[in-house]
């Protein structure tokens, strides 16, 4: 029972991490059809932003305030990754709309450059981020079953991101424009929507969410130049499995992969578990090439 | 009568996410017939062509070609059986030359093995050359098709279809974007083709329809509204109501596009 509960929680936790990592991609890939291989590096930028915030707190603020650095780190990561995303969109991505495969290759190059940049600035070794004391420990639900606060925090963070994204996309003025542009670019531009601006904003927001993901990941894992490479393929799998263009799909995709990953890993071992999950994804896509939640459209190609 | 029908759509229904684009449509095409399919925007004309050529799977009903049930067949199988399709937007292969476009469209064995070892036979070359002359592109045989003008692309596509030698041609707005002269030429060509083959044309250009149609099918909201000669159609009250009334709107939207 304990084990079952704990594994359920672990599965949920992995799902939440995957979702956080994939949310940004779901926007850039799902809505804009840009395959951003540098997404992982945007996550890395978020992680390093958190590291820098931590250092600033350590150096310039009284010790008693240190624990609150993380509260600030989340928006800081978002903003920095957002800015990087904006620069990326303006300087590169806008040349690549309608050429998804090319966007994949070009952004891979960008990722390479960003990784190397991080290596030159912060050095090749990992850096340490001390998680705030209020996130240490966990919730004891029964003897021997401890749910770490960090993981609960990440789950909450994902939900917060999802909710705000939902409101942004479906309830705000900006979001309406965004959907308009993504659905019918020409029509939107005829109606006076600046598609350039919307594209840039959309891409930057997707990048910003990657930054938040990076910030959250500092709680659990290593912070180094190659951080992004560990998550990029998984993130793509989530988006593709979920079905491109729908947030619900991404949520389902992440939950599916996270749960099965935990299950398989528990039954077999980490390596085999991973293989099994990927085999399942490949098999599933054969059956439903458009993913779990397919957006059907009448347009040819 | 019955045995002469080359194509039979029987109670065809198509659904897109709950929206019924075609509802119980019936269509019968005789051998050697030139049929025009008209109707307001969203009437399901293009969709029914899609069903016939296999691009869209109907949720109900049957399509028979000759004696073969093609409802469940794949696009390339249907094409191999002898149904050719021309899309609304010219869809040629832009990076290939004009003659290469024709070469692969030409009726031939289409297996990997056959194409891998295919040699251009004398007879094949003269067929291609003949077609080139017919569509007026003999001087542009080595041009990349992407560099042709819009009208030339339309012609090339028609040429490709003819070389494909299908028994039925499905044409979606073949004269869109053509000059009056080109339009007339196309009309004559269609009549010529219809001697040996059957043709279904979806068309908005009423002028063109009036000039060249023998039998017209009117669709409305996914259903068959009226079938008959152009005169009969024009006299029909219901058609006038649902179609001609809306025609002006359709024309307006087309002219702004």
């Amino acid at each position: 029972m304990e084990v079952f509960l704990l594994q359920l929680f672990n599965g949920l936790s992995i799902s939440s991490i995957l979702l956080l990592v994939a949310l940004g991609l779901a926007i850039t890939f799902g809505l804009m059809k840009v395959i951003n291989m540098a997404h992982g590096e945007l996550i890395m930028i978020g992680a390093y932003s958190t590291y820098l915030t931590q250092n600033l707190f350590q150096d310039y603020l009284p010790k008693s305030l240190f624990d609150w650095y993380f509260v600030l780190a989340v928006p800081v990561s978002f903003v920095i990754a957002f800015i990087f995303g904006l620069i990326l969109e303006i300087s590169l991505i806008r040349f690549l709309y309608g050429r998804p495969l090319d966007s994949l290759l070009a952004t891979w190059g960008v990722g390479l450059v960003l990784q190397q940049l991080a290596r030159s600035i912060f050095g090749a070794p990992n850096v340490a981020v001390t998680s705030p004391a209020w996130l240490n420990g966990g919730m004891k639900i029964m003897d021997g079953t401890l749910l770490p606060y960090k993981r609960i925090f990440i789950i909450a963070l994902v939900i917060a991101c999802l909710v705000s994204m939902y409101f942004y996309i479906y309830r705000s003025h900006e979001g309406r424009r965004m959907r308009a542009v993504m659905q019918n670019r020409d029509m939107a531009s005829c109606l006076g929507v600046s598609t350039r601006r919307v594209d840039a904003m959309t891409f930057a927001i997707g990048s910003g969410i990657a930054g938040i993901a990076g910030c959250a990941l500092t709680l659990l894992g290593p912070i180094g130049p190659s951080l992004g490479t560990y998550y990029i393929v998984d993130a793509f799998m989530v988006v593709v499995l979920g079905g491109v263009g729908k947030l619900v799909g991404t949520v389902l995709g992440a939950t599916g992969i996270g749960m099965f990953n935990t299950l398989f890993e528990y039954w077999t071992n980490a390596s085999l578990g991973k293989v099994l999950v990927f085999v399942c994804i490949v098999a599933f896509l054969q059956w439903k090439p458009m993913g779990l939640v397919a957006m059907r459209s009448r347009s040819l190609d | 009568m019955k045995e002469s029908a080359i194509l039979l759509c029987d109670d065809v229904t198509v659904e897109f996410d709950g929206f019924k684009a075609v509802q119980g449509m019936n269509l019968k095409l005789e051998k050697g017939e030139l049929r025009f399919l008209i109707g307001p925007n969203g009437a399901g004309k293009t969709t029914i062509l899609d069903v016939i050529c296999g691009k869209v799977r109907p949720s109900g009903g049957r399509v028979t070609f000759g004696k073969v049930d093609i409802t469940k067949k794949k696009e390339h199988q249907i094409a191999e059986l002898g149904i050719g399709r021309k899309f609304q937007a010219p869809s040629i292969f832009p990076s290939m030359t004009v003659s290469e476009n024709l070469e692969i469209a030409m009726r031939q064995r289409r297996t990997v093995f056959a194409t891998l070892f295919a040699k251009m036979a004398e007879e094949e070359r003269s067929r291609i050359d003949g077609q080139l002359t017919m569509i007026g592109l003999q001087n542009k045989a080595d041009w990349r098709a992407g560099g042709l003008s819009h009208g030339e692309k339309q012609w090339l596509e028609i040429g490709m279809m003819l070389l494909q030698e299908p028994e039925i041609l499905l044409l979606d707005e073949p004269v869109a974007g053509m000059t009056d002269k080109e339009t007339d030429k196309t009309g004559e060509l269609l009549h010529e083709i219809a001697r040996k083959r059957s043709i279904v044309v979806v068309e908005h250009d009423m002028e063109f329809v009036r000039n060249f149609a023998s039998k017209v099918t009117v669709m409305h909201e996914g259903k068959l509204l009226k079938e008959g000669s152009m005169d009969e159609i024009q006299r029909d009250d219901r058609v006038a109501e649902v179609y001609l009334g809306k025609r002006r709107d359709a024309d307006v939207s087309r002219s702004t596009a």
Partner: protein
């Protein structure tokens, strides 16, 4: 048609030019990098030349995933070379390092090793980190009769006539640490490692040893390299209730594992872990707060109390910055350079065969204490040390083997290891 052909033609011309010019150009370039002396190539395979220079190769990953670890070793090796040069060089000649990047890619290591030996004609090469990189280079050194100094602890079961191993083999790190754990921390072992050759082979040894020495194996798990979620694994460990987790995880996985272990409410007090790939450098990347109290087994710590180490640490920090730390592989790289230099002095030549002969039973006061080259295996005698991570990110030595342990890469001195002898 015309244009297509013409264009292919020009392409082909470019191709021919590049192939020819490229190859020819390369030769020129090699000659010019030989420095001010064009005669270098004449003294083939000697690695030295009349003008008083000896070239040595340094072949580590400066880019890619392994750069994390290997860059510090390069620093240590460069420092040793500088120190030796400052003291007059070897045989009165200056040592000139030729740096190559292995790029964390094993075939690249093989390629660059070949280049160093046959093009640059270096006297010896210091390089490698992963077992895979060493295995990739080994045939090259054997084929061209080069000399490689390999500075990292590894899984043993190997000895090449062309390689000197200055890191620990299994009986100088793993075997004694397992014995110590059995005596002091408990019998139930959980083996956790990254999925690659070192952990798998090391665990093969440990399993045999546990059988022989009365331990009990309660679990064995491997995670893919770069694995970052250990929640499931930690639940498995919890279920197995081991006394000791013997950790052979590598690199980034360690960070994730220890952070998440702490989150799961397991501290060093609740569960002993002993790591063989976590040194001072890694502690900085993981964070002391999560590692405090955990154990590691090495042959050297920055805190190791020898006179040689005091100056080594001082010089290292002076040269590369106060925030830098030294660690076992760094020290082993440093030691390798000195051992080679001593062997060259003794042989009076840089020729591989003579150096190898001279290196036999050579002794040197390394920062880790007195080391001696074992002539038969070309490994070195090393002192085993078990340390505990302290709040300042340094290790406190809990135990050491007292004297330097004789290397035994094939574990011939252990009866229980009979079944893991190589088949060839």
């Amino acid at each position: 048609m015309k244009k297509r052909m013409f264009y292919q033609f020009s392409l082909l011309l470019v191709a021919v030019t590049i192939v020819l010019a490229g190859c020819g150009g390369n030769n020129n370039k090699t000659a010019s990098t030989n420095g001010e002396t064009d005669k270098a190539t004449n003294t083939a395979n000697s690695g030295s030349n009349a003008e008083g220079e000896i070239k040595v190769g340094i072949l580590h990953s400066q880019s890619g995933t392994m750069a994390i670890s290997e860059v510090s070793v390069i620093d240590a090796e460069m420092m040793a070379i500088d120190e030796i040069n400052a003291a007059g060089g070897v045989l009165g000649k200056k040592i000139v390092p030729v740096l190559e990047d292995g790029a964390s890619d094993w075939p690249t290591f093989a390629e660059k090793a070949r280049k160093l030996i046959s093009e640059d004609k270096v006297a010896t090469v210091f390089g490698g980190w992963t077992s895979a990189s060493r295995k990739a280079m080994k045939p090259v050194f054997e084929e061209l009769n080069g000399l490689l100094w390999y500075p990292v602890q590894y899984e043993g079961l190997e000895s090449s006539p062309n390689i000197f191993y200055t890191g620990a083999t299994t009986n100088q790190q793993i075997v004694p640490s397992v014995s110590w754990l059995l005596e002091n921390r408990g019998k139930k072992f959980y083996l956790l490692g990254s999925d690659y050759v070192f952990p798998r082979t090391a665990n093969l040894v440990i399993k045999e040893q546990l059988k022989a020495e009365g331990g009990e194996l309660v679990g064995e798990e491997y995670t893919p390299l770069g694995h970052t979620d250990y929640s499931t694994l930690i639940s498995k460990i919890k279920e197995a209730k081991p006394d000791v987790v013997y950790n052979t995880l590598n690199g980034d996985s360690n960070v994730a594992f220890f952070k998440q272990l702490k989150d799961a409410g397991i501290t060093a007090k609740d569960l002993t872990t002993l790591s063989v790939s976590v040194a001072e450098e890694e502690i900085r990347g993981i964070g002391v707060d999560v590692l405090e109290g955990h154990l590691a087994a090495w042959n050297y710590y920055q805190t190791t109390d020898t006179p040689a180490n005091k100056t080594f640490v001082e010089n290292y920090k002076k040269k590369y910055g106060d925030e830098r730390v030294t660690a076992d592989p760094i020290e082993a790289g440093y030691t390798a350079v000195y051992l080679w230099a001593a062997a060259v002095e003794k042989a009076g030549s840089v020729e591989v065969d003579k150096v190898k002969e001279a290196a036999k039973e050579l002794e040197w006061d390394a920062p880790e204490g007195k080391v001696k080259i074992d002539g038969a295996t070309q490994h070195i005698y090393k002192t085993v040390r078990i340390g505990e991570v302290q709040a300042d990110g340094q290790f406190k030595e809990l135990w050491n083997s007292g004297e330097a342990v004789k290397p035994d890469p094939y574990l011939k001195g252990y009866d229980w290891a009979a079944s893991i002898q190589p088949t060839e």
